[in-house]
C-alpha cells in the first residue's frame, strides 16, 4: 500500500485511484464505499453517479484543468489532488491557492506527480497543500526538512503568516 505524507506524518494512504479499482461500477465488490479518487474527466462524464456513490470522493486535476469547474461539487468532495508532472510546471500552485482562498475548500489537498520533491514541498504547503505523494527517491526525512527550513515568508500561506502581517 502506498504511503503518503499527510500533515507531516507518513501514513498509509486510505484513498484509492479509480485506475486501481476495477469493479466500482459493478453491483458488488469490496471497494464500494471506500475512499476513491477519480479524474475530473470521469466526474464530468457522469456527475450524478459519482456524487451519489457511497463513501468519500476525491477528484484528481491535471495541470490544464480549470479548478473553478469543481466549485459546485466541493461540499461533496473530501479530497482534491493536483498534479505536478515535473520540474517547472507550476500550474498546480495556482490550483491549490484558488481552492483554498477563493473557493474555500477545507478538505484534503494533495500534491501528486513526479514534481513532488523536497525542494518544492514548502511552496506547495504554502499554497494550501496538506498531503503529498512523494516522488520516487524522496524520503520522509528530507521532505519533513522542507517544513522547518523557513520560519518566515513574505506572503501569507500556511504554516506561516506573512512577514507583512507580523510587522503590523
Amino acid at each position: 500500500m502506498r504511503s503518503i505524507l499527510r500533515r507531516r506524518e507518513l501514513v498509509a494512504d486510505d484513498w484509492r485511484y479509480l485506475s486501481e479499482v476495477h469493479d466500482e461500477r459493478g453491483a458488488s465488490g469490496t471497494v464500494r464505499g471506500a475512499a476513491l479518487i477519480i479524474p475530473l474527466v470521469e466526474l464530468r462524464a457522469d456527475r450524478e453517479f459519482w456524487l451519489a456513490r457511497p463513501g468519500p470522493l476525491g477528484v484528481r486535476l491535471s495541470p490544464v484543468d480549470n479548478v473553478e469547474e469543481l466549485e459546485p461539487d466541493l461540499p461533496r468532495l473530501a479530497l482534491v489532488a493536483a498534479e505536478f508532472p515535473g520540474p517547472g510546471d507550476g500550474r498546480g500552485f495556482s490550483q491549490g491557492r484558488i481552492l483554498r482562498t477563493r473557493l474555500g475548500f477545507e478538505g484534503e489537498l494533495r500534491a501528486v506527480g513526479a514534481g513532488v520533491k523536497q525542494d518544492l514541498i514548502f511552496l506547495m504547503a504554502r499554497c494550501g497543500f496538506d498531503s503529498f505523494e512523494l516522488a520516487p527517491g524522496q524520503t520522509l526525512e528530507s521532505a519533513l526538512k522542507a517544513y522547518t527550513r523557513y520560519t518566515v515568508a513574505y506572503q501569507p500561506g500556511a504554516p506561516l503568516s506573512s512577514i507583512m502581517m507580523q510587522r503590523h
Partner: protein, 551 residues
C-alpha cells in the same frame, strides 16, 4: 535606502542555508544535473562557457557603499577581481567556483544582498529609473513600490515556477528611463483627481526573439490594490501561458494570442473574484517602506555654474556625465563604465572600493546602477564636482561619453555566455576604436547603440537607435543591424536595414550610417529624429554602398 529588519534578514539567511544544502546535495550526487538546474537558476547561478556565472541582485539598482565594497571584495576573493553590471541593474561574476557559491551568498547576506530569482522562470529583479527620487520631472519616487513588489515576489509560493521569466519595471517619470514598455509588466506612477498614488498598468512588453511593446490594460490602479492586481495578472499567466515551447512562453505571447482586450477581461475577472482574499497593501506598510526612502539631508545651496572658466575636458565631462537634480546646488553624476578599450559594464574591485569611498564622502553613501550599464552618484554638491572629476579621472571612470555613441549597451556575448553566437565585446572594442575622437562623438550627439550576442536580446538591440544583433552563419559571426528603436518615453522597435554584415564590417557600416545623418540632419536634430523624418531608405542605400559582398 531600504534596510532589512530582522525578518528580512532571517529570510535571506534561511535562503542561503537552503541553497547551501542544495549545492551540497548536488556535489554529493544526490541531485541530478537536471534537478539541480531549476534550483540553481532560481538563485542566479548559470553554468556558462568557462565557469559558473553568478548574477547578484541589485534591487532597482540601488547600492549602499558598504554593499559596493562587499561586491568588490567578493570579486577579488572569489573571482578575477572584476564584475559586470547588466541591463537588469544586477552584477554578474564570471568566474566563481560552484562549491564556493554558498560562501559568496553568506558574504552577500552580511550586507543584506542575495542572488534570489536573478534567473529562472520566476519574477526577476524589479527595475526602476536610475534617477528615481532626484529627477526634476518625477511624479513620485518609484523605489518604495519596487521594494514592496520585490518582497511580494520573493519566493512567492504560487509564482516561482512560471512558464518563463518575468520582469517588472516601475517608473515615476514620463521620460521612462526604466524601459518599462519592454517589460512583462510596466507600472507607470500616476495620481488620481484627489492626488492619491496609483499606477497605469502595461502588460506583455518584451524583447528577445519576438519584440513587443507592452499594452495598457488599466489606466489607474489604486495603490492598495497593487499586489492583488499583480497576483491576478500572474495567476492568469501561470495558468494559461504556454509551457510547450520555450520561445512562446513569455506573457507577451499569451497577451498577443488572446488579444489585449480578452486578456484584460480575464485579469479583471480574476482580480474581482480573488480580491477579497488577496493581500491588500495597508497604509502602515506603505509608510513603513516609504520611510526608508526619505531624501538625504540636503544643504540649502544655490545653483551655480561650476564649469565656467574650467578646462574644456571638465566642461565636456560636466555636460555629458552630469544631470540636473531636483534640489538646487546638486547634480547627479554618471560614472562611465564605457571607457574605450574596456568591456562595457565591467568594473574592477579596486574601482568599486574607490567609488564607494567617493560616494561616502560626496554622495550620502549611496550608488546607483543604471540599465545602461553605468553607475551614478545621485546627490553630489555642485561645488564638489570639479574635485570629483579629478578623482574619477585617476580611476579611469571619467570618460565623458554618457549618451554618446560609445555609451553603448553590450551583453557579455561569446566570451562568456553559452547562448551567444557572437563576440559582442570584440565588436564593442572595434566601435570604440572607430569612434575614438571625442569631438566627433560630440558632433554626432545622442545616439544609442545596443548590442546583443544572440536572439535573446539581453543587450536590448531592438530598442537601440542603432541595434546590433550577432548571428551565426555556418560557424561565422555576422551582425544584423536595425535602425530606429528607442525607449525613454517613446518606445519603438528598430527595423532591420538589410543583410547582416561580417564582423570586420560592423564599425565601418555604422560609420556610413552616421555619415548619412551628418549629411541630412537639420538644426538640433538627433540621429533618430533625422531617421524618422527621412525614413530608412537613405540609410539602407549608404550602409551597403561599399561592402556589396554582404550576403
Amino acid at each position: 535606502m531600504y534596510r532589512y529588519d530582522e525578518l528580512d534578514q532571517a529570510f535571506v539567511d534561511q535562503r542561503v542555508a537552503e541553497f547551501a544544502d542544495q549545492t551540497r546535495r548536488f556535489l554529493a550526487g544526490e541531485l541530478s544535473e537536471d534537478e539541480f538546474r531549476g534550483l540553481r537558476l532560481r538563485n542566479g547561478l548559470y553554468i556558462q562557457r568557462h565557469a559558473p556565472m553568478l548574477r547578484i541582485a541589485i534591487p532597482y539598482g540601488l547600492l549602499s557603499t558598504r554593499q559596493l565594497r562587499k561586491l568588490g571584495e567578493i570579486a577579488e576573493r572569489f573571482d578575477r577581481g572584476y564584475g559586470h553590471f547588466t541591463t537588469r541593474q544586477n552584477l554578474q561574476l564570471n568566474w566563481p567556483r560552484l562549491e564556493q557559491v554558498p560562501e559568496i551568498l553568506r558574504e552577500l547576506a552580511t550586507v543584506q544582498m542575495h542572488s534570489i530569482q536573478t534567473s529562472g522562470n520566476c519574477v526577476r529583479n524589479v527595475t526602476a529609473d536610475h534617477l528615481a527620487g532626484i529627477a526634476p520631472d518625477e511624479l513620485d519616487d518609484p523605489r518604495p513600490y519596487c521594494e514592496i513588489v520585490r518582497q511580494w515576489a520573493t519566493l512567492n509560493p504560487e509564482f516561482t515556477y512560471l512558464p518563463r521569466k518575468f520582469k517588472i519595471a516601475i517608473t515615476g517619470s514620463p521620460a521612462d528611463r526604466a524601459a518599462s514598455e519592454v517589460h512583462d509588466i510596466g507600472l507607470h506612477m500616476r495620481r488620481d483627481a484627489e492626488g492619491a498614488i496609483g499606477f497605469q498598468v502595461l502588460v506583455g512588453g518584451g524583447l528577445g526573439r519576438t519584440p513587443i511593446i507592452g499594452r495598457v490594460i488599466r489606466e489607474f490602479l489604486p495603490l492598495p490594490d497593487l499586489l492583488s492586481y499583480l497576483e491576478a495578472i500572474l495567476r492568469v499567466y501561470n495558468r494559461h501561458g504556454r509551457r510547450d515551447n520555450i520561445h512562446k512562453a513569455r506573457i507577451k505571447i499569451l497577451v498577443r494570442s488572446l488579444g489585449v482586450e480578452r486578456f484584460r477581461e480575464q485579469v479583471e475577472a480574476e482580480w474581482l473574484a480573488s480580491r477579497a482574499s488577496a493581500t491588500r497593501l495597508s497604509p502602515a506598510e506603505v509608510d513603513r517602506v516609504r520611510a526608508h526612502f526619505t531624501p538625504p539631508a540636503y544643504e540649502s545651496l544655490p545653483n551655480q555654474d561650476v564649469s565656467a572658466g574650467r578646462e574644456p575636458q571638465f566642461q565636456a565631462w560636466y555636460r555629458y556625465n552630469t544631470r540636473e537634480h531636483r534640489v538646487p546646488g546638486y547634480r547627479a553624476v554618471f560614472i562611465s563604465l564605457k571607457a574605450h578599450g574596456h568591456n562595457p559594464g565591467d568594473m574592477t574591485s579596486a574601482q568599486m572600493a574607490s567609488v564607494a569611498a567617493l560616494a561616502d564622502r560626496l554622495s550620502f553613501g549611496a550608488v546607483r546602477v543604471t540599465h545602461n550599464q553605468n553607475l551614478l552618484l545621485g546627490d553630489v554638491r555642485q561645488s564638489d564636482l570639479y574635485a570629483l572629476w579629478g578623482e574619477l579621472r585617476t580611476l579611469g571612470l571619467a570618460m565623458p561619453n554618457i549618451g554618446t555613441l560609445t555609451d553603448m549597451i553590450a551583453c557579455p556575448g561569446l566570451d562568456f555566455c553559452s547562448l551567444a553566437n557572437a563576440g559582442t565585446l570584440g565588436v564593442a572594442r572595434q566601435i570604440q576604436a572607430q569612434f575614438n575622437d571625442l569631438d566627433y562623438l560630440y558632433d554626432l550627439g545622442d545616439i544609442e547603440i545596443k548590442m546583443s550576442g544572440c536572439m535573446n536580446g539581453c543587450g536590448h538591440h531592438h530598442v537601440g537607435h542603432i541595434g546590433i544583433l550577432g548571428v551565426d552563419k555556418h560557424g561565422e559571426e555576422w551582425y544584423q543591424i536595425t535602425l530606429g528603436g528607442s525607449v525613454n518615453g517613446f518606445t519603438a522597435l528598430g527595423e532591420v536595414i538589410g543583410p547582416s554584415v561580417p564582423q570586420a564590417e560592423v564599425a565601418p557600416t555604422i560609420e556610413r550610417l552616421v555619415e548619412v545623418y551628418r549629411a541630412r540632419r537639420e538644426d538640433g536634430e538627433r540621429f533618430v529624429d533625422t531617421l524618422r523624418r527621412i525614413g530608412l531608405q537613405p540609410f539602407k542605400e549608404r550602409a551597403y554602398a561599399i561592402h556589396s559582398a554582404a550576403a
